[in-house]
């Protein structure tokens, strides 16, 4: 039967969020509102040392003086920061040795998400640090990692047990007063992941964390700190899904990566927070600060697939401080219905012979707005800096928008910078060609979109690449241009 455009549109519109369900787990939730007392209480609750409490308070002090940024190309009702509960953790909090002891309801949640923890443990060789709301519930494969001297735990644990490391590096890449949301996160972060790879160690498996927002009205303030010591290598995966909600949820995470001399960090993200329904109600606000610091010969590679969230505001960046360091950014951002994404990267070239690559693919459908915003900065001492940027946008339908805001600032004559951007739609002839060969329109679009984003998909680790491809299809089904 012929598949008409109308039908496709209908199907797309009725496509409800697949993972929109709510797990009923008793949570230990703080009263709503933010004050110095709440910050101290969070810190106390987590049994943190005094320096950490002071650090949080300092961040809170800065935050109070800051105003919410408005430069991003997004429109939304500003969150009421006094109407958010800043701490929520699953109540039953024993540390499990095996998965069998985990709350069965929680395990059920994972099943619905399509992640079988056991299976992943066995088949994929992935250590999964599951963050259900804000506190780490299960950490697997810890032993294998420990043998290599790799520390992979929740940040609250690290604050207690590896205090020196955390103290030295936290806030070193994203200072407390870096921006409004980073300051907020610094003051109230509830949990997150911490990872340390010792000198010369190649992490034997992909490290991954699944983040979920679970408790109604709870902001999620994740803090991730990854340190790769000299000559080490780690690949870190992060993926998100969140249940349906009518009110907007705030997610303000901070991720700090530190790659010391000769180290390499690969950080991949698949983001599929609840994007709101087709009328544009609900959905997650995703205001994230992600930044990495490269020392000599180090390399940081960001790969992201952004399909979810009502509003995304995210710029994974690289500070190329050491000579010969490399920064990479590969991104696919898909927006549909009323989603808004303002995402991109910053490449700050400070050292000599530094190189950076930016590949950004934006796909907008429905009534969504998709922006690329990037900065390439070459400082006067960065001899022979090299950058290549490519931003391509694909528009589906005539009610969406694609925007590019690339900033390029160069202060060194030996720099070589190239930037190119294109905007286009899926060609009717391309679809016709596929139709002619018996591929229906929907499949054809999936095919073309996959081809369009291949450069980025290829950069994802295997397990994620499959998931990402599926996500792209789900997000765009039936969006005929």
């Amino acid at each position: 039967m012929a598949y008409t455009e109308e039908e496709l549109k209908k199907e797309l519109e009725t496509k409800e969020y697949e993972y929109g369900f709510y797990t009923d787990i008793d949570s230990d939730t703080f009263p709503k509102g933010l004050s110095e007392e709440i910050v101290i209480a969070i810190s106390k609750k987590k049994e943190e040392p005094e320096w950490m409490t002071l650090w949080r308070l300092e961040a809170f002090k800065h935050w109070k003086e800051m105003v919410e940024p408005e430069w991003a190309n997004v429109n939304y009702t500003k969150p009421d920061f006094q109407a958010i509960s800043y701490y929520s953790a699953p109540n039953k909090k024993p540390k499990y040795d095996s998965l069998d002891e985990v709350d069965p309801e929680l395990l059920d949640t994972f099943k619905k998400l399509g992640i079988s923890v056991d299976e992943q443990k066995k088949l994929a060789g992935v250590a999964v640090d599951i963050v259900m709301d804000s506190v780490s519930v299960a950490t697997t494969f810890k032993k294998t990692l420990a043998e290599k001297g790799i520390i992979f735990c929740s940040i609250s644990e690290a604050i207690k047990e590896h205090s020196e490391l955390v103290k030295k590096y936290i806030g070193s890449v994203v200072p407390q007063k870096d921006n409004f949301y980073a300051a907020l996160n610094s003051a109230v972060f509830s949990d997150g992941s911490f990872c340390y790879i010792p000198k010369g160690v190649r992490c034997p498996m992909e490290l991954s964390t699944y983040f979920r927002i679970n408790q109604a009205g709870t902001g999620q303030f994740e803090r991730t700190l990854v340190i790769a010591d000299e000559g080490s290598y780690v690949s870190y995966l992060e993926g998100c899904t969140a249940p349906s909600r009518d009110e907007n949820q705030l997610h303000a995470a901070v991720v700090e990566l530190i790659a010391l001399d000769d180290a390499e960090i690969k950080y991949s993200t698949v983001q599929n927070w609840f994007p709101g329904n087709k009328e544009g109600n609900g959905g997650v606000y995703n205001f994230v600060t992600k930044r990495g610091l490269c020392e000599k010969n180090a390399k940081i590679s960001w790969t992201q697939v952004e399909t979810g969230s009502a509003v995304t505001w995210k710029y994974p960046s690289c500070i190329l401080k050491g000579d010969n360091s490399i920064g990479e950014f590969y991104s696919i951002a898909v927006t549909n219905n009323y989603q808004q994404a303002d995402t991109g990267t910053k490449m700050i070239h400070l050292g000599k012979n530094t190189r950076s690559t930016i590949i950004s693919k934006g796909i907008s459908a429905g009534k969504s707005q998709n922006s690329y915003r990037g900065l390439v900065q070459v400082n006067s001492r960065a001899e022979n800096a090299r950058n290549f940027s490519q931003c391509d946008s694909l528009l589906m339908g005539n009610e969406c928008g694609a925007h590019t805001f690339p900033y390029i600032e160069v202060k060194n004559k030996t720099a070589q910078i190239e930037h190119e951007a294109t905007t286009s739609k899926i060609g009717e002839d391309q679809i016709f060609y596929c139709n002619q060969r018996g591929i229906n329109t929907e499949k054809a679009i999936a095919l073309i979109v996959n081809g369009f984003s291949k450069e980025v998909l290829n950069k994802l680790p295997m397990e994620f690449a499959v998931e990402a491809q599926k996500l792209l299809e789900i997000s765009l089904e039936g969006s005929v241009g």
């Binding site: 005539n398 030996t414 930037h419 286009s424 739609k425 241009g481």
Partner: protein, 438 residues
């Protein structure tokens, strides 16, 4: 007293010298209110992120020149494009110089804004066009509107074309220690009309000059407008040039900007495509040295379907100079089949030079072809070596390569004498004599 306060109080003095009963004066008063509210733009504003007006605001500019000055043609001949015959509208310290000018009312109107704003016969045109496309929001444009009194007025009726190109030249003699000029130009090309205009600002001394110029261009159906801006001013002169262009069906407007001189130059070039099958072209060559600062801001607003826009800006930056390019393309939802192309290439020849570029696309329609490209690099060492190995000295070889780099832009200059003139300016700026014409 800072410059803003001085301007506000000068406005009252200005009102004593103009006809405040004329409807244009309401426009002026409204604009003054906007400027009072907004003041000079600061670096905190996105559009002025890379260009600071702070140091200019500290200068005690004279707002009204005290006396009329005369210049001998032989002393300033070199600033005219004297190889071809042209209509000339010349201003000395902001005041019209009838001695140096050559205006006409023969079939076309090439005359003065002051006449157009006061004489009743121009009222119908002024009512329809004056301050219609210029921004009512941007503070420096408002400042110019508030003090608008003098400038060039060019009206080309349907199916007409002036016999020769038009030159608009503003001289500053340095009689004042520091002078603020605010010329206001209006160019109207009616249906199927064609016009070529060359604009130049020239300071003759080392005294400070700040020019805040606004030009409105209206191109009706199938009209063709060629506008050339030569910015090769003295090192003490600064220019803020605001150009607003309103295009109708099938019109073609080309603006070429050649920025070689001046202390601080800011070009705000805004195209609004109010029709179909429109072609808008903006091209620029920028060659800077010393501590010069040039900021190109372009905007093309594609409002209707089936239009095209082309942008090509080349920059060569030496010494401590700073270059800024900010090109914005907006494609509205209904502007399907738009073809927008933007290219910005830069060469840095000094360690202390800076380039900030931001090619920006905002697209709301799906069936469009929009692309932008931007590069920053150096001269090709291999090409340099090749030329040297053929006996061309390094300096000339470098100049030759830079020439080639800028040549794309020069190709579309339609007045041969102007092209030669610009070639000479480029050679001079690069400090070489190539001994042949390119």
């Amino acid at each position: 007293m800072d410059l803003k306060d001085k301007l506000i109080s000068s406005f009252m003095a200005f009102e004593n010298n103009v006809d405040i009963e004329h409807p244009v004066h309401d426009v002026r008063t409204e604009a003054m209110k906007n400027f009072e509210r907004k003041g000079f733009p600061s670096k905190k504003e996105e559009a002025w992120k890379y260009t600071s007006l702070n140091s200019l605001q500290k200068i005690d500019f004279s707002i009204f020149p005290r006396e009329e000055n005369t210049l001998e043609y032989k002393n300033v001949k070199k600033y005219f494009l004297h190889e071809v015959d042209s209509y000339k509208i010349v201003f000395v310290d902001g005041i019209y110089s009838s001695y140096l000018s050559e205006t006409t009312h023969d079939g076309v109107d090439i005359c003065l804004m002051s006449a157009a704003l006061t004489k009743p016969m121009y009222r119908p045109v002024i009512d329809v066009y004056f301050n219609k496309v210029a921004s009512k929001d941007e503070s420096l444009t408002s400042l110019n509107t508030a003090f608008s009194r003098e400038g060039a007025y060019i009206y080309i009726p349907k199916n007409k074309m002036p016999k020769k190109p038009i030159e608009i030249i503003h001289f500053a003699t340095g009689n004042e220690a520091s002078l603020l000029l605010q010329p206001r130009n209006l160019v109207i090309a009616e249906e199927n009309a064609e016009v070529q205009i060359i604009e130049r600002h020239q300071s003759l001394t080392s005294n400070e000059v700040l020019t805040n110029s606004v030009t409105e261009i209206f191109a009706a159906k199938s009209a063709i407008v060629d506008y050339y801006k030569i910015q090769n001013d003295a090192p003490s002169a600064s220019l803020i040039d605001n150009t607003y262009i309103d295009q109708k069906d099938k019109s073609v407007v080309k603006v070429h900007t050649f920025s070689f001189g001046g202390k601080l130059t800011r070009n705000n070039l805004n195209f609004y495509q109010n029709g179909e099958y429109i072609d808008s072209t903006m091209k620029g060559v920028t060659i800077l040295g010393d501590k010069q600062h040039v900021d190109h801001h372009t905007l093309v607003h594609h409002i209707e379907p089936n239009c095209e826009s082309h942008q090509d800006y080349k920059g060569i930056y030496g010494d401590n100079s700073t270059g800024v390019f900010n090109g914005k393309i907006i494609v509205d939802k209904i502007a399907q089949k738009t073809n927008a192309f933007q290219q910005n290439n830069n060469i840095l020849v000094s360690d202390k030079a800076t380039i900030n570029t931001k090619p920006q696309l905002e697209i709301f329609a799906d069936d469009v072809k929009c692309s932008h490209g931007c590069t920053i690099g150096q001269l090709d060492e291999d090409a340099l070596f090749y030329l040297q190995s053929r006996g061309i000295p390094k300096k000339e070889a470098r100049a030759l390569l830079m020439y080639a780099f800028a040549n794309n832009v020069l190709e579309s200059v339609r007045i041969p004498e102007l092209k030669t003139r610009i070639n000479k300016l480029i050679a001079k700026k690069l400090g070489v004599n190539l001994g042949f014409d390119l």
